[in-house]
Symmetry: C2
Subunit: 309 residues, 2 copies
């Protein structure tokens, strides 16, 4: 086994992932837990991190590179934001060193986009973008599906601009806390795949969101959608509407939005691949563990920086 | 005191209202409770109604006219829907007689609008529309703010068409069950009125809903909106977006949407009056207790119908 060179951590709102990595970028060990920012803020960030470092037997001097919500105002150490267009070097320069630790622990900043109407922010996704898109790749349109989906345009390792959609959280809130989720108990799913596609098509249409989404209820009331298929229709609808609005956004920015890279390998990413097919947009699945790959690229560059320091 | 002529009931999802009314439409007694459809479905509709009839000392032969969710599939007796364009006479003809009761209890149907994409439905609001707009009034654009806001075009006592927006329920779900409502404890409101208007203006803009609403968080993160003012901004946003989409809908239907009648007299209706002013739409407050007035008109007509029966 090769020597570990550093530790990479993706510390999200509700999840924690850690990789022990060697100098060549090879993952030697991995840890996953649900000790995200919200849990760690109570338990103590240093203690949570140390327990995982101990579990993978990380040497005492090994540096740690953290991306994600640990750098938020309500996280461990606030790491601020880098403004778009944001090159890799700017993200590195603004990394926050955690004070009072014997180990070198650095938390990466997020990226902010100023806008005349309202700013937009990402924190953690920038690292996935760096891992998913090669440093010399030409302009690429990327989607990172999730609680707060991000669409970004990346070129030569630089995040040009991006936009956020609260798609996953909207789905959960609508299904869990509105009339759309009050379905007859035990209603069987009849054809979830068809319902999902119908929802996507409805999402791609031009109506108002809070009107169109009410279709989840009215279609059921009128016997046009089986009650058990409502969740699939709703999932298709929120994703379809995201695609519609992201396409408009990309086209405003000068991209024809005819192809997109989907970063993620979970069930949600698969839903996006299906929805993009319905939308007639060519979609390519991105690499697995894009965050780990991005942190590797940053660690490589950070090593160089430290060498010159 | 004049003789009571009939009992009018507006039986919503979560509220119950009853009026004892004389032949001239004068309200002799009133009852309000939170025994809406959801509560009454458990307690028993007949028992809930009887307890209020007893409380107002309603004579045993007095007929009862009910509008609202008591006529839903999951209500007391299913009363179905009348299709738009829906004249008063059609609503009357399809009223469902509650079986097995010594008293004449009739539940009014809702109104459904068939659409090539998804149908739309109302149940209870049709009675408010009848009470708010005179039978001989020319074409009128009406909004009924609420959990599920309705915009309708009414002409000569006929509901031409309508559209629903899940505005109130969306606000509750976003503030109560998403990151937008995770605000620092005890953050004081600084200028709620200004935040509401800013939210309305954002809502009137052209972006995607699940993107634009994320502004409630990013504006706060960037110090551009006090945390304590986020709820007011969010309220303004969802109402502003409703107005934007309802205006588009009305204009498609051939209405210039330059003026609208706001049915309701509560705090929510006042918000709509403010938001409509920001939107430069002339708004007129509708009558108080439009449902009672609508039930009176129906009872008058029903009396005639019964005479001929």
């Amino acid at each position: 086994m090769t020597e570990p060179a550093y530790v990479a951590v993706d510390w999200g709102t509700s999840s924690f992932r850690l990789w022990l990595i060697d100098r060549a970028g090879k993952v030697l060990a991995e840890r996953r837990s649900d000790e995200g920012m919200l849990a760690a803020a109570k338990a103590g960030f240093a203690g949570v991190l140390q327990s995982h470092l101990t579990a993978v037997e990380a040497p005492a001097q090994l540096p740690v590179l953290v991306c994600g919500m640990a750098g938020a105002k309500t996280g461990w150490v606030e790491a601020g934001y880098v403004d778009t267009p944001a090159p890799l070097s700017a993200v590195l320069k603004q990394a926050a060193l955690v004070p009072g630790e014997t180990r070198d622990i650095r938390i990466l900043p997020g990226i902010a986009q100023r806008d005349t109407r309202a700013p937009d922010v990402m924190r953690g996704e920038e690292t996935q973008l760096l891992g998913a898109v090669a440093a010399d790749a030409p302009r690429t349109l990327v989607v990172l599906p999730g609680t707060h989906s991000k669409w970004a345009r990346v070129e030569h390792g630089m995040v040009l601009d991006f936009t956020t959609f609260m798609t996953g959280e909207m789905y959960d809130a609508l299904l869990g806390h509105t009339i759309l989720g009050r379905l007859p108990a035990g209603a069987p799913a009849v054809d979830g795949t068809a319902a999902f596609s119908r929802g996507v098509l409805r999402g791609l249409g031009a109506g108002g969101f809070t009107h169109d989404v009410f279709g989840a209820r009215t279609l059921m009331l009128m016997g046009e959608l089986p009650a058990g298929d409502v969740p699939e229709w709703l999932s298709g609808f929120v994703i379809g509407r995201e695609i519609r609005n992201a396409r408009t956004w990309a086209q405003h920015a000068g991209d024809d939005a005819s192809r997109v890279l989907v970063v993620g390998s979970d069930a949600l990413a698969k839903r996006y691949l299906t929805a993009l097919e319905v939308s007639e947009i060519a979609a390519t699945p991105g690499p697995v563990d894009a965050a780990a790959a991005g942190l590797f690229r940053i660690a490589l560059a950070a090593g160089k920086l430290r060498h010159h320091a």
